[in-house]
Amino acid sequence: MNASNTRQGWLVPALIGLLVFAVLPAGLAAFDRGYFYQVANVAMIFVLLSASMHLVTGVAGLLHLGHAAFYGVGAYTAALLATKAGLGFTWTLPLSGLVAALVAFLVALPTMRLVSIYFAVATLAIGQMLYLVMLNWVEFTKGPNGIIVSKGLELFGFSLSGRLATYYTVAAVVMLCVVAISRLSHSYYGNALRSIREDDQCADAMGVRTVRLKMEAFTLSAFFAGVAGSLWAHMTGYISPGDFKFSESILILAMVVVGGLGSLPGAVIGALLLILLPEGLRGMGDFRNIMVGMVMFLSILFLPKGLLGEVSALRLVRQQLGAAWRRTDNGIGIGWR
């Protein structure tokens, strides 16, 4: 087997990189309106949230109805560390991810043995419990008044709070996390998670440690949600419990479902669609949330596999995103790279 037999796509990653780090910022700088920057940053953060939800709901098949709460845990960790301990973004970014992951781990310990709908309802209850803590523990979280985060984005002392710098920071962090999620879900590890989704008893019998893997997927996805929360807290400078309520969890779930369960490109497309479409339809005002519900309903009804279904997404990723399979001498592709 020689190098020429290993298909390594570089064109698509290069194009995506070019789009995110050159074309989009150039376009944003050309228009130079705060609103466009805001939309781009929010879309980026939701791409990360949707990708992290993809890991737990799409790949591992655990219907998660409390994802926004872990996003909220990350955001509150960042905000509280910034206001009470005076830490900058450099420290709050990893710490909020870790705190969200820790909370998720503790939550996962008792609930991970539940199946399908019972797990979904347990996550709903846990999401609501975390939301109630944010709302009611007024001495600690300032309750419904929210927290003003005065520290903007910075890395190791360099302030990155300009419009373009903020965009670049958010985009870089999000792209890094999405690449990490892509490596997790497009690998043997991802395949093990998929086997749990398809038939956990069978996977268990074949030696896949189902409970442990599910816990890992749940915790990892909470980590990425926490990172997204810290980006949100430092980017907007103000957080309140309303940003992390049940309907946000549903919005993130809708993104994954519309894009296609189990498909990472689909999750990204779904996030962009459900953030940019309502922004584009701003004139419709109150109808935005109805649009979200309608898009979700219609896509479940007419596109049960999502906009970019899992099978085609996997083929795309294998061929184009550097996760190609090796060819043996007789030309059969095997495994993941």
């Binding site: 199946v115 709908i117 049940f246 549903i250 309608m294 309903f297």
Partner: protein
């Protein structure tokens, strides 16, 4: 002698639990048959309340007519909900897809989507703030019973939930429709083989369950005097908790657990601020799921 304060809290808790029970009955009926959670049940409750409110503001009918309007809207909503969110996912009737997880979860998501659309549509039509019910329709004239004070609504809600329970038991055990519902609930495929029209039975279940949900909505609306588009969300979760605690397919179990839930919540407000009282329900849910996987009153069913 028990402190009258606690007796009063107990009474408040029981009436709160009764309002949850009203909703849990319909919820459990639908879950028991289809084995899917109907996330739109809360919206049916809201629709029932709004149907009553619209009728009250349009003309001033007697309370019974208001309840009948809510029942009619509930039946209609249940029918359309089943057609919209559940029927399209029963295209395949072989055993594998009946047991398929993807199938069950797609109806979960579709009912969720329908519930979002309905709630947002209600917000556009009626505005998101609370609408108050005209004073003369409120069912909260105080009645003193020994050391505690109850309101007329407590008796009405108690009467209605008792009537619903008895009526439902009669329906389920004595009538043809009820036998069909129980057969489908037990084994959909087997029911089909012996000639039961499963499609019609499922519609009937939705209609009956949604009528109960809508009646619950208008009664609770008249009881608290506030009707708003998001009113169905919290009772929906409480009803779900009661259903899970009661063991999913047991309707009397769900009612008893709804009462336990209501009493615990009202007792909890003695010790913590009322904002935290919702925590009780979520805590109960998690504890039940972990320690009593079969519920407190239910028969076994695979869930772990």
């Amino acid at each position: 002698m028990i402190d009258p304060y606690y007796l009063q809290q107990l009474a408040i808790g029981l009436s709160l639990g009764m309002t949850y029970a009203l909703m849990a009955i319909g919820f459990t009926l639908i879950f028991g048959v289809l084995n899917v959670v109907n996330f739109a049940h809360g919206e049916i409750y809201t629709l029932g309340a709004f149907a009553g409110l619209v009728l009250i503001t349009a003309s001033a009918p007697p309370v019974a007519a208001v309840v009948f309007a809510a029942l009619a809207i509930g039946a209609l909503a249940g029918f359309s909900l089943e057609r919209l969110a559940f029927k399209p996912f029963r295209r395949f009737t072989d055993e594998a897809s009946l047991k398929s997880r993807a199938m069950r979860e797609s109806t979960l998501l579709s009912s969720l989507a329908v519930s979002i659309v309905v709630r947002e549509a209600l917000e556009i039509v009626f505005g998101s703030e609370m609408r108050s019910v005209p004073f003369e329709y409120l069912i909260n004239t105080p009645v003193r019973v020994g050391p505690v004070i109850l309101v007329t609504g407590d008796f009405i809600i108690f009467g209605v939930s008792a009537a619903m329970l008895i009526g439902l038991q009669y329906l389920l055990t004595r009538t043809r429709i009820g036998l069909g519902i129980r057969a489908v609930s037990n084994n959909p495929l087997g029911a089909k083989y012996v000639g039961i029209d499963t499609d019609r039975t499922i519609i009937m279940t939705f209609v009956v369950g949604s009528m109960m949900g809508a009646a619950a909505g208008i009664l609770v609306g008249l009881y608290y005097g506030a009707i708003f588009p998001a009113m169905g969300f919290v009772p929906g979760i409480k009803a779900f908790v009661a259903m899970v605690m009661g063991g999913l397919s047991s309707i009397p179990g769900a009612v008893i657990c709804a009462l336990i839930l209501g009493v615990s919540e009202s007792m909890a407000t003695t010790f913590v601020s009322s904002g935290w009282s919702d925590m009780v329900a979520y805590g109960f849910l998690i504890l039940t799921l972990i320690f009593f996987p079969n519920g407190l009153f239910g028969a076994g069913r695979e869930r772990v």
